[in-house]
Subunit: 437 residues, 2 copies
């Protein structure tokens, strides 16, 4: 009898794909026995523990045990394993029974990365959900297409203006910024992630000040921007705040997805009383994806799970500014957000943090038009102020969509010209974190 | 004029300690300018961004800007910095205005580790909250003293029996295990983290089966154990399930803290309708603390934040079994949970995962008696079954408290004798993850 459970070790063709979700892991360890590790991982994450127990019957295994679909090594040593003590890189593909999880998002996380999150250099590279599980998630209410229709914006990226300073401003300052951003043609105005509900600037006060300013501006421009008010809080308080805000006329909501949890966001997004779009913010998300040997990939953490949670837009680090993420990773996140999935709307990727008009050509080359360009300092820090800051972005977007170099467009766009003069053409003006190098 | 903001760089004695919370960070980078990094970090996490903006007034800074209390280096180079390109280890102590956060736990996380969670090798080593902020947290309802009184257990660690298999068993199997564990003298029975609400074994069914079994056993033993039913789910569904379970007679609750989020647990623990103790489980917590250069320390992630969330007990990895955590780290977590804090009850540390009776002497040496010993396989895997498994643990605990070696106690404790014969004396029997070495 093999020490490796013949039921546990199977192949993808050997299971009913509708009954299992799969996860792909990388593991780095100087191990002697890759198969025993795969077996231990699946045991730990489904029916077993470190010693045999009477109630783990054949029936239980049949119903609930995970299955190993593949154990791979890179490089792919076939003849002999590398010398004793060498750290080996293993890839493991595992299938988990859908019925163990029953559509429960925290349990999905527990299953793919529960106790095994604490055993060593194990990272989750990807998961694939079968249709039966996917059906348990409503996903975004608006999505890219819904949001475009809602805002009346087709054929170009959205422009999202961020309130700056991050925290500390009073409602009247926000009203000034909102009014000016709207005159400059902004589509979405967002709160800062640090601006949730400080004593000096409550959700109510911000909604009132901002929405009034946007109403006023819309009479002049004929277009109405939306404002994603940050309702991040303890889930029960967040729900209460969000519903109150929507009733008070909030045109959209914002949540720090990674500090309230995916499932709290899912509950908010799937609530029928929440009739406005939701923008997700990545604060704290580095905890999930930054470590090369631990956690989840950015594509999963910022991409797939954000989409399952139901945000309509998500801001995240980009290769264009102050919080670096590799270009190919930022694009991969975008692909997870926008690739077609039956029954799950597409989410606007928002590569951001330190963007300025000079960043636009590269961003559109990387993402196409289904992109929300988020900017704070790059708008309000414009030499001629906030209105000019928004216009400079729109000029950069229009030029890029016509394949016109920004320096050309600047000849007929004085706002763009001044922005480029201040921050340069290209996306390198803002690397505050180049200090780290 | 210095490029370093004289308002931002201060010292601990220069601020009103009641108005600020502090955070201590480690940062590894081959930087040229440690002070500029500290300034960038504080800027990013409070009022600023990468370029000056008009509304960041003196007034805003005074109200909301963070302050640098200290920038240190290890080793502490004083004469010249290490050669260009060398990775330097910086320690930074930062103070954040309490009023920015307003007692909002997700915003507390956003403030200490928001965008900066994504900038590189930055880890949060500790935070200190001032009394004004601490008052916003109710903490555990029962705590160590309350739970001891509730259970009628003084002068020894609690014994917590875990249902095994983790997931897959049906309610009648759980009832058998519960009854037998209670006859063996268990104090707390816990669900597995993977057993939330599968189709084949719902919360309702588990509560009914288990509580009935515990009632029945209590008539024979004169003592009543509690059962922490796992209500982990999307927060709104979790609240509904928890309240329904409590009404249906659930004697306690369990939550996977790290997959639902600290704030959802806080809401549950502070809800007046939740009149029973709560046990926290660490599934997914490795995401928070495992990476040496990213995330939070285990003392923060498993210790301080769990206590702020209000769990009464928390299970976490230990040096005694299958999911390794360094001994000094496991003890540090326990200290965060049990050190006196005005107004915040103490939490039972539950170092666990692969514990067996042989692990007891070391565990009590490390934690004293304010400890909850969690065991699953070490109970049900006993050669004579579950009742004997519990008795073996109690014999090991009683012997250790009398300073009697386990091998001596085994002479008058046949259950302990058989456990030691199977798994050995000491805590090394269960290192399934020794496979990784």
């Amino acid at each position: 009898m093999s020490k490796y459970d013949p039921f546990m070790f199977t192949v993808a063709e050997g299971i009913d794909r509708d009954q299992y979700m799969t996860a792909l892991y990388s593991l780095s360890a100087p191990t002697n026995d890759a198969l025993a590790i795969a077996q231990a991982l699946v045991t730990e994450q489904t029916t077993g523990t470190w010693t045999a127990v009477p109630e783990e019957t054949e029936d239980v295994k049949l119903r609930s045990m995970g299955r190993v679909l593949g154990v791979y090594e890179f490089p792919d040593y076939e003849r002999e394993r590398p010398p004793e003590g060498t750290e080996r890189t293993l890839l493991m593909q595992v299938a988990y029974p859908v019925d163990n999880i029953n559509g429960n998002l925290p349990e999905l996380l527990t299953t793919i990365y529960g106790n095994v999150s604490m055993i060593g250099k194990l990272k989750v590279l990807d998961i694939h959900l079968p249709p039966a599980m996917l059906k348990r998630f409503q996903g975004p209410k608006f999505g890219i297409e819904g949001l475009r229709q809602h805002l009346g914006v087709e054929g170009r990226p959205l422009l999202c203006g961020m309130y700056k300073p991050c925290v500390g401003a009073l409602p009247d300052a926000l009203a000034r910024m909102a009014y000016n951003m709207a005159l400059g043609g902004i589509d979405v105005i967002k709160d800062d992630e640090l601006m949730a509900d400080p004593k000096f600037c409550s959700v109510e006060a911000r909604v009132e000040a901002t929405e009034k300013a946007l109403d006023k501006a819309s009479k002049e421009t004929g277009r109405r921007a939306i404002y994603t008010v940050n309702v991040t809080d303890r889930p029960d308080l967040m729900f209460a705040k969000a519903k109150k805000a929507v009733k008070a006329g909030a045109s959209a909501l914002m949540v720090n997805v990674y500090t309230v949890g995916y499932a709290a966001v899912q509950a908010l997004a799937e609530d029928p009383e929440i009739t406005v779009p939701i923008l997700g913010h990545p604060a704290f998300a580095g905890t999930f994806f930054e470590a090369p040997f631990h956690g989840l990939t950015s594509a999963l953490a910022l991409g797939k799970f954000a989409r399952l949670s139901g945000v309509d837009m998500i801001i995240y680090p980009s290769p264009y500014g102050k919080v670096p993420l590799m270009r190919e990773r930022a694009i991969r996140v975008g692909q997870e957000l926008t690739a077609p999935i039956e029954g799950l709307k597409r989410v606007f990727p928002g590569p951001a943090a330190g963007m300025q008009p000079g960043s636009i050509p590269q961003a559109i080359e990387d993402f196409g038009i289904d992109l929300i360009v988020g900017a704070g300092g790059g708008i309000h820090g414009h030499p001629d102020g906030t209105i000019a800051g928004c216009r400079a972005f729109h000029q950069a977007i229009a030029a890029t969509l016509k394949h016109q170099p920004l320096s050309d467009a600047a000849k007929n766009g004085p706002e763009l010209e001044k922005a480029l003069a201040k921050w340069g053409e290209g996306n390198v003006a803002t690397k505050i974190y180049s200090l780290l190098q």
